[in-house]
């Protein structure tokens, strides 16, 4: 009962981002089931067909249904990025809080290591990871998690540093509480707001990175698809103003900007 209390207190604050997050997650899970066609099926002889009753978003460069491919693409983008973000932020947050609590050698080693990782451009490290290990779902998720963990680590460490100096941490330490309890019960509930904003930001970065990688052709490989590779493969359609290229680009924009706005509004209200 006591664990749910902090969550219940935060609930009005979380409403807007929660609704938007749920919408995208629902779309990610349900997408493949509500898609009208199969993703690889060539359904029309016309390529880059415009919007019609039969194909709501037209067809792509091979005559496949764009709506279907968009739903599949959204699904893989959201799920892949969500997995990477959860990994990155969980690891980052706990390492950050540990560093703030322990200080000294632990803090210095961790922080310098993270600084090292953060100094490499994210697209570059993504390309290196794919070039070394090949392009597969686990490699992409782990690479993105590693790329975004240092950012999350630094945010959480700074937040935790100011909390660790509060007297209630001192009181808990004087009682002889273990580090695990301090991290989970005393520090974490006091930084949920900023940490959630940070999680949202990392997710948006991950979407951007995955789209970039896919746009360069080293992200998800066919027959799998995601929003970035959809944009790239239909790039020719730009000349015809085909929805095949505009729709996935718009979807990326909606996903990132929408989530960003929701989280930003929440951050300001705090």
């Amino acid at each position: 009962m006591t664990l749910t209390l902090p969550l219940r207190r935060l609930s009005p604050l979380l409403q807007v981002p929660v609704v938007i997050t749920i919408f995208w997650l629902a779309l990610a899970f349900a997408g493949p089931f509500i898609a009208p066609c199969l993703p690889g099926e060539v359904v029309s002889s016309t390529v880059f067909a415009p919007i019609s009753a039969q194909h709501l978003l037209g067809t792509d460069y091979l005559g496949r249904d764009v709506l279907t491919r968009l739903l599949y693409g959204t699904s893989s983008t959201v799920l892949l990025c969500a997995a990477a973000t959860v990994l990155a932020c969980t690891a980052g947050a706990f390492l950050g809080m540990m560093a703030a609590l322990q200080r000294g050698m632990t803090d210095t080693l961790l922080s310098r290591f993270m600084d090292g990782v953060i100094s490499i451009p994210s697209l570059l490290s993504g390309l290196v990871a794919v070039a070394t290990f090949g392009s597969s779902v686990p490699v992409l998720v782990l690479a993105m998690a590693c790329i975004y963990m240092p950012g999350s680590y630094r945010t959480c460490r700074m937040l935790a540093l100011s909390i660790v100096q509060k007297d209630f941490i001192l009181a808990a330490r004087m009682r002889g509480e273990k580090t695990g309890y301090l991290v989970v019960r005393e520090i974490l509930p006091n930084m949920t707001g900023p940490v959630l904003t940070d999680v949202g930001l990392r997710f948006i970065y991950a979407v951007r990175l995955l789209s970039n990688l896919s746009f360069l052709g080293v992200g998800l490989q066919p027959p799998q698809t995601d929003l970035g590779s959809l944009t790239r493969e239909n790039l020719l359609g730009l000349v015809y103003g085909a929805p095949a290229v505009i729709a996935p680009a718009l979807a990326i924009a909606c996903l990132t900007v929408g989530l960003n706005l929701a989280l930003d509004g929440k951050g300001r209200r705090q």
């Binding site: 006591t2 330490r173 004087m174 002889g176």
Partner: protein, 600 residues
């Protein structure tokens, strides 16, 4: 102001039916101050008295035409020195604020820009309002520094804020307020954040300034003793409403309203502790403790020694009070006892067992039996945990009964209703938070409770209730308390034994009763003489007695007595050898070169 003679001059400040409202976020508007009316005649000092949240600062700010963000002046009439404050536009207000009315804030340390030398900031109002050319402004500022009895008035302006003490900054801020020769000066709790010994210097400076500059003043405070010294008349506020208005003498001697009576009663020093102390076996015995910061030097002492060679016993079932000004090492001492500041030398024995310096090395039992109650209840309670969760964690941690009934019992101990259990710290008042803070310590069933200035941040009435509670708990549970404070009244009223700390040395250790019997260490005497008394005119007496104040800037001698630079009765050997400790007839242990007959 019921019977006004026909020919008396009109009041300089005239407030009629003032209403201030405020809103939080997008919530509904709630009244902060309602229907407040008062007058201040020219050259008069009016005190606004009330506890925190009574709206006294909001009224003072309204006089300058300013409302804090989210607040607004809803209705009423505000006339200050012939200006109608509510009808002025932004540029008129700006010149009004600089030339006609000046404001001295509570925390001068935070009010100055740390990146500019003080002189630039002091003369800024005069330059901004084109009152004086730069050269004359600087001369005027130096004259004001002299009046404020600041050390080296010629050169202090070149310093930066961090190079001055809190009391000096407060006086420099007063100089800044007076440089434009305003007609009205508002003092917003200017001495609340200061020590008694510093407070009196600042009050003296204000008093001299008032006499020489002849401004009209509004003094916002919660301290009745200061009202007695500074104000001619007083307005008592509670929850934004005027409770009582009258001359200072009248309010202090014959308060008419129940709230004022309560306030006056809480400010009167009275003895809460009626036990007669007898030194029994010490529960905690501190021997030759040295605590400091920084790397250890060749002689085994830390680079910055904060607590030097202090020996104190805390006896079972007794209250030991430690008093001293800020920087004297009292907080460091209590942190060393609590095991969060390892000591460099000396030892502690707790319940017959040697106490390790670090909290991690202490036994669970030692940790449980000694509990720390820290000063700031806002920082001590986890804002994300309810009162119940906080207490339950302590109970379960020490394997005590953690049922709802047990939590109710703990809340009962600190006289809090069980209905508060579900609340979170931000939903509690300052006094309630401090009680929960106490409850958290008591839930561990301690033998010794270390209290670090627990009443410093509280209003008079609330602080008095906390002290009463401490004494009740001492009787009921047989607890020992260690009470650190800079408030001599509080110390006297609750303690059995008293230790006076100066610059990390224990200069006097005696029973609380012996505090009333001379001889005393010169510093103890200074502390006593610095506590403002409730009778008007006391400050003038002190000013007369002190005569011309001299500002000594010498540093304490490397060997010898650390109090020497401030000591009025210092002799030659004070600079050479550390003072010996001897016992006075009253039982007090005093560390001074002078003998009992010289100090009486």
């Amino acid at each position: 102001m019921t019977q006004q003679p026909l020919l008396s001059p009109p009041p300089l400040i005239c407030v009629r039916d003032l209403c201030l409202t405020g809103r939080r976020g997008t919530g509904p508007e709630t009244p902060i101050v309602s229907n407040v009316s008062f007058d201040v005649a020219e050259g008069e000092m009016l005190a606004l008295i009330g506890e925190s949240g009574s709206g006294k600062t909001s009224i003072a700010l309204a006089l300058t035409g300013y409302a804090r963000s989210g607040c607004r002046i809803a209705q009423g009439q505000l006339r200050v020195a012939g200006h109608d404050v509510r009808t002025m536009n932004a540029s008129e207000l700006r010149s009004f604020r600089g030339k006609t009315i000046a404001y001295i804030a509570q925390n001068a340390g935070a009010a100055f820009n740390p990146a500019l030398p003080l002189m630039e900031q002091v003369i800024e109002p005069a330059l901004a309002h084109h009152i004086l050319p730069r050269k004359e402004a600087i001369e005027h500022a130096i004259a004001l520094f002299e009046m404020m009895a600041l050390p080296t008035p010629q050169t202090i302006g070149a310093r930066y804020p961090h190079e001055c003490s809190g009391g000096q900054l407060q006086r420099i801020m007063a100089a800044m307020a007076l440089i434009t020769e305003p007609e009205v000066v508002i003092f917003d709790e200017p001495t609340t954040a200061l020590d008694v010994t510093t407070q009196i210097e600042v009050l003296e400076a204000f008093r001299v300034a008032m006499r020489q500059c002849g401004f009209t003043g509004v003094y916002v405070t919660h301290d009745l003793a200061i009202v007695a010294q500074m104000a001619d008349r007083a307005v008592v506020l509670k929850n934004g409403k005027v409770q009582e208005e009258g001359t200072t003498r009248q309010i202090l001697s014959k308060p008419a309203q129940a709230y004022t009576q309560q306030l006056v009663a809480a400010s009167q020093p009275h003895l809460r502790n009626h036990d007669t102390p007898a030194l029994s076996t010490p529960l905690l015995d501190i021997k030759n403790l040295v605590v400091g910061y920084g790397p250890t030097m060749a002689d085994g002492r830390p680079t910055h020694t904060i607590v030097d060679n202090v020996s104190l016993p805390v006896c079972a079932g007794e209250t030991l009070g430690i008093i001293g000004e800020s920087g004297c090492g009292k907080s460091t001492l209590i942190r060393a006892m609590a095991g969060i500041q390892p000591w460099a030398d000396g030892s502690m024995v707790f319940e017959g067992q040697p106490l390790p310096a670090r909290i991690e090395e202490r036994t669970p039992q030692q940790r449980q039996h000694m509990q720390l109650v820290a000063q700031n209840a806002d920082l001590v309670l986890n804002p994300a945990m309810s009162v119940e969760a906080t207490l339950r964690r302590v109970l379960t941690f020490y394997n005590e009964d953690a049922s709802d009934a047990a939590i109710k019992r703990v809340l009962d101990m600190v006289r809090l209703p069980a209905a508060l259990a579900g609340r979170y710290p931000p939903q509690l008042s300052g006094g309630q938070k401090q009680r929960v803070n106490l409850a958290r310590a008591l839930a561990a069933r301690p033998r010794l409770v270390l209290c670090d200035e627990i009443t410093a941040a509280l209003d008079t009435v609330v602080a008095a209730a906390i002290l009463d509670l401490m004494m009740e708990l001492k009787r009921e549970l047989g607890l020992s308390w260690l009470f650190v404070t800079h408030d001599l009244h509080a110390l006297r009223s609750v303690c059995d034994h008293v230790a006076v700390l100066y610059a990390g040395h224990c200069v006097e250790f005696s029973t609380a009763a012996a505090l009333n019997v001379p001889p005393h260490h010169p510093y103890t005497r200074k502390l006593e003489n610095s506590v403002p008394e409730m009778q008007p005119g006391w400050l003038d007496g002190v000013i007369q007695h002190n005569g011309l104040r001299q500002n000594k800037t010498e540093h304490a001698p490397a060997t010898g007595c650390s109090y020497m630079p401030r000591c009025p009765v210092a002799v030659a050997e004070c600079a050479q050898t550390p003072p010996p400790t001897w016992q006075a007839p009253s039982g007090a242990r005093i560390a001074c070169h002078l003998q009992a007959q010289d100090l009486s």
